[in-house]
């Protein structure tokens, strides 16, 4: 047998299980990272404007998609956030179709009186969509400026300026803190 061919066959035979094992390990680490990010993504979706119930549903569905992912992605928290955000927005459109039911449900869920304590969240929800996304990515998910830029598909400069604008408005709502 040609020595080179023999080497190729041995490499192939040995490499296949090794690749599988590496893929499994990578996938396991991806799922572990997703689990770790679950809570912060849930809070991020609430900060984007969802009710805790809707945010729970959206994040759970996003996590199920993470379980079905064949390839591990970079930044599991960012991936989970973007997927959950899309799911929540789709749910919101559906809810608008059945508005009377949604109004009833909102009235029932807002009896707890937590709004007063969540005033800063209300201020975040009043920010423009891009500023909200940047604020959540940076302050809730804990992503860096560069990671936020890559996640949202914008430049780092845009992230910086958007963060500054959002900071100004949020500081005003916090009572003009220095």
């Amino acid at each position: 047998m040609d020595p080179l061919a023999a080497l190729y066959s041995v490499t192939y035979l040995d490499a296949a299980p090794l690749t599988d094992a590496l893929a499994r390990a990578e996938r396991s680490s991806w799922l572990k990272d997703c689990e770790g990010a679950y809570d912060s993504v849930y809070r991020g979706i609430v900060a984007m404007g969802a009710t805790p119930e809707d945010a729970s549903d959206a994040v759970q569905e996003a996590f199920e998609r993470a379980l079905r992912q064949r390839d591990a992605k970079d930044r599991p928290a960012g991936w989970l956030f973007i997927v959950a955000l899309r799911i929540w927005r789709r749910q919101r459109w559906r809810q608008r179709l059945f508005m009377p039911l949604a109004i009833l449900r909102h009235a029932a869920s807002s009896e707890g009186g937590t709004e007063d304590r969540l005033d800063l969240l209300e201020q975040i929800r009043k920010l423009p969509d891009r500023q909200r996304q940047v604020v959540v990515a940076r302050y809730v998910l804990g992503l860096s400026q560069r990671e936020t830029a890559e996640l949202l598909g914008i430049s780092a400069g845009t992230v910086a300026s958007t963060t500054s604008q959002a900071n100004r408005r949020l500081r005003e709502s916090l009572g003009g803190l220095p």
Binding site: V46, E53, D119, L120, A156
Partner: protein, 139 residues
């Protein structure tokens, strides 16, 4: 480029978010329970009733030898059948409508079948307008 990260804003947001109840995990995965089942059932019921209605209307039109007329006319025929039990008691004008199931050039070869006597004027007009492979004469 300086990073405008504001630790105070971050801390304030974290404090507010800490007041939230923990994320709950549903035993039934979201989107697979009644939320998807109800619209799917409604769509199935609508589709089924639509198919039944179309079949009923077509059968009524076929029974009168008017299988070739347009859908609106078929529905009108069906309604007339429902209200009167037969088509001849609807209008007041003494008129009759003949239908031949053949293209216009071959119309002479096919004997005309009288279908309606004393139909509503708008029904006659609908029948007269109907085209493809169906010759309608109003007398």
């Amino acid at each position: 480029m300086t990073d405008p990260y504001d630790a105070l804003v971050q801390r304030s947001i974290a404090q507010r978010l800490a007041l939230l109840p923990p994320a709950r995990v549903r035993a039934v995965p979201p989107g697979r329970g009644h939320r998807r089942l109800v619209p799917a059932a409604l769509a199935a019921i609508l589709a089924l009733s639509g198919a039944l209605f179309a079949s009923e209307v077509n059968a009524a039109a076929e029974a009168e030898g008017l299988g070739c007329v347009d859908a609106i006319t078929k529905v009108q025929l069906w309604v007339a059948e429902l209200t009167d039990g037969k088509l001849t008691l609807v209008g007041t004008r003494p008129a009759s409508i003949s239908v031949r199931s053949a293209p216009a050039p071959m119309a002479e070869a096919v004997p005309a079948v009288p279908v309606v006597a004393g139909a509503q004027p708008e029904l006659e007009a609908q029948l007269a307008r109907s085209g493809t492979g169906c010759v309608v004469e109003i007398r």
